[in-house]
């Protein structure tokens, strides 16, 4: 920067001389028609012009040259520097003062413009940084983006080291990076870290260290350390660059703060959600398990105590309720276990090629008793492609969907199961003619412990509220989607997709004899 100033300066001095020379020339040419005062004015004008355009040095030169020219050429005795009239000293004085005042003024304006330019550059760098940081996903991405911006501002590669692995009680630990092999860098790094002050190259502290060590400070203190490594440590940073780098470091610190805060918020939200789940699970367990258990206990103890006096029909009824309640508990516990597998990511999907028809068949057979009151129709095209699924999990999906249909649809209403292939997926629909789901609840039905409004059959609302949540977990694990649609003509329909991943290996030709 200094070298450039000197270079510009020479040109400015030459041009200042030129301006004065031109003014002098004009005065010499017009001399016969000009009074001495007019000549002084013209020369003064040349000084003003120079001072307005150039720096103080050239302006002073111009005022000296004009004064000299005025004295030498236009003030008697001519061609000497002697002065008869002391009032001409006043002329020199005025010229000097004007030059000084003008240059001071223009220099200030110029300075302000340079400052404004620097500020604009800095705010542009900050703006670009903020925009990129906002887009950065995750701590490491944020640090990498921030380092790129620092590097651009300093014209040298920058790296940011996160606090982890930097801080330790007692001795300092350093990241595994060759730059920290230099003892001077390590000392500077510790200084920068503990004092929170930029240290090393391009800063006001320890300039002999060839690397800049820039602490990134957040509300909690120093949270990261940036290094900037110039190719040539002899070339320093301009004060504007230095200011930009420091401003960027501040912005990075705030971004890290925001990220930390967002993480804490996310964690708090997850905690609240977990707490809500625990509460719901607890109430579900206490109600849904204790109710059937109480029924079983009552029926069993009645049978035991009153065996002799009970009519056969009552005994049969009590035994039937024990059986029914036990089955209900078995279903509920099965759902709770599936739920835990879905929630904890323990859902080990063992996929193999299967015709959907077979899985549906198993589910229909197992539900035969539950579905007694509903005619079930199935529309599975014979040429439906095979899918890669975990048969036990997809069976569970069918069981839950059929269970819901049986629970909410009035007795005697039909249940339709259909499948078709579409866009590299198999789409399956289980539809009933029950009350359907309120339009606003189409998504909520997949939430845990959602229960449909009690209606239709006697045990609506007796479900665990987990069925559809489990279905969604299972279908998602298969790479598919599940959603609820309003059925034309009334009723609820759940659709799910299973992606068709190519075709299975071809079958061998029928072997040998039958």
């Amino acid at each position: 920067m200094k070298a450039r100033m000197a270079h510009w300066g020479t040109g400015e001095y030459v041009r200042a001389g030129g301006i004065v020379a031109a003014a002098t020339g004009v005065c010499l040419a017009a001399r016969p028609r000009l009074a001495t005062v007019d000549i002084a004015m013209i020369l003064l004008l040349s000084v003003v012009a120079t001072a307005a355009r150039y720096r103080r040095g050239p302006a002073l030169l111009a005022s000296l040259l004009s004064t000299a020219a005025f004295d030498y050429l236009f003030v008697p005795p001519y061609y000497t520097f002697d002065v008869f009239n002391p009032s001409y000293f006043l002329t020199f004085g005025v010229m000097l003062i004007v030059a000084l005042l003008m240059t001071g003024l223009t220099a200030r304006i110029r300075e302000q413009r340079v400052r404004a330019d620097e500020r604009e550059q800095q705010s542009r760098a900050l703006y670009a940084l903020e925009a990129d940081l906002a887009a950065a996903d995750g701590h490491d991405a944020l640090l990498a983006t921030a380092a790129a911006h620092l590097g651009r501002a300093a014209d040298a590669p920058a790296t940011i080291f996160s606090a982890e692995g930097l801080v330790s009680d007692g001795g300092a630990t350093f990241p595994e990076d060759p730059v920290f092999e230099d003892a001077a860098v390590r000392v500077a790094a510790m200084w920068a870290w503990t004092r929170g002050v930029a240290t090393g190259w391009g800063t006001d502290h320890g300039g002999e260290v060839p690397v800049m060590l820039l602490p990134v400070r957040a509300a909690t203190g120093t949270v990261a350390l940036a290094t900037i490594r110039p190719a040539d440590p002899a070339v320093s940073l301009s004060s504007a660059q230095q200011a930009t780098v420091l401003a960027l470091a501040g912005a990075i610190g705030s971004a890290l703060d925001r990220q930390l805060l967002a993480q804490q918020n996310e964690r708090a939200r997850a905690d609240v959600e977990a707490e809500r789940l625990r509460t719901a699970l607890l109430s579900s367990l206490s109600h849904d398990l204790r109710t059937p258990l109480a029924g079983i206990e009552t029926s069993a103890s009645t049978l035991l105590d009153e065996a002799a006096t009970l009519p056969a029909a009552t005994r049969h009824e009590l035994l039937g309720s024990i059986l029914e309640e036990s089955r209900r508990m078995t279903r509920l516990i099965g759902n709770l276990l599936s739920m835990i597998r879905v929630e904890t990511g323990m859902l080990a999907v063992q996929q193999s090629w299967q015709p959907l028809e077979e899985v549906l068949g198993v589910a229909l057979l197992r539900m035969e008793e539950r579905l007694k009151a509903h005619p079930v129709t199935t529309h599975i095209p014979a040429d439906l492609p095979m899918v890669t699924i975990d048969e036990l999990l997809i069976e569970q999906v069918f069981l839950n969907l059929l269970e819901n249909a049986a629970r909410y649809a009035p007795a005697g209403s039909p249940i339709d199961v259909s499948a078709y292939s579409e866009d590299a997926s198999v789409v399956v629909e289980v539809a009933d003619r029950g009350p359907g789901v309120p339009a606003g609840d189409k998504e909520r039905v997949f939430e845990r412990f959602y229960r449909g409004p009690a209606a239709g059959s006697a045990d609506a609302g007796a479900g665990s509220g987990l069925g559809l949540t489990i279905c969604r977990g299972i279908i998602t694990a298969h790479g598919g989607k599940i959603w609820m649609v309003a059925r034309p003509g009334g009723g609820a329909a759940v659709r799910f997709t299973i992606p068709v991943a190519g075709v299975p290996a071809p079958l061998p030709a029928a072997s040998a004899t039958g």
Partner: protein, 238 residues
Amino acid sequence: MAAPLPLVLIIEDELHMRQALRAILAGSGFQVVEAASAREGLMQASGRNPEVILLDLGLPDLDGREVTRSLRHLTSAPIIVISARGQEHDKVQLLDLGADDYLTKPFGAAELLARIRVALRHAAQPLEDLEAPITLPGAVMVDPLRRQVFRGGTEVHLTPTEYRLLLTLLRHAGRVLTHRQLLEQVWGRQYAAQTHYLRVYMAQLRHKLEADPTRPRLLLTEPGVGYRLRELSEPLKR
């Protein structure tokens, strides 16, 4: 019935399950001997010579595979594995090691007795060569000598592989066959892992023999394990 009552060995560590099994079996005229652990069960199996063994999957003292192997050394009596849902992988292992069938808890008395009946029947009369025509549920008739299959009086054309599959299931009617067992017997040992062959042919068979292939009455799926031909009302004749 002058023949001595069949002896059933129950190897089950859980007291209430053992009581329930004993109640069902004794009520149906079986003799029962109980073992509360695998080691005790093995002793009883060699000492009492049971005709059917009910083996709980998940005994605390020995691994189920170990028990099955040891039992197979001691006796040829059919082994019926009693397991919970979700233990399909273990069940398949025991079936492939020589267990004959399985039951999933909770089960009803009828189901248990049907399994024992089928197991005893197969133990008494292994079916290798079938000759007499066999009538199956769903108006399906198989004529092994002519290799013809009829449904509702009209002949159904089966491919050789489909026929082999049907006949394999028929020889073990009422009993579960694992995917591996079926693949080995119908396609050969090198295809033992190609489960989808089996599923495709099973679907074809169902479309030809079942009134509603999504609600099979004859060719039953044992999810995660294999297939079972529904138990025949009358014993097969040679």
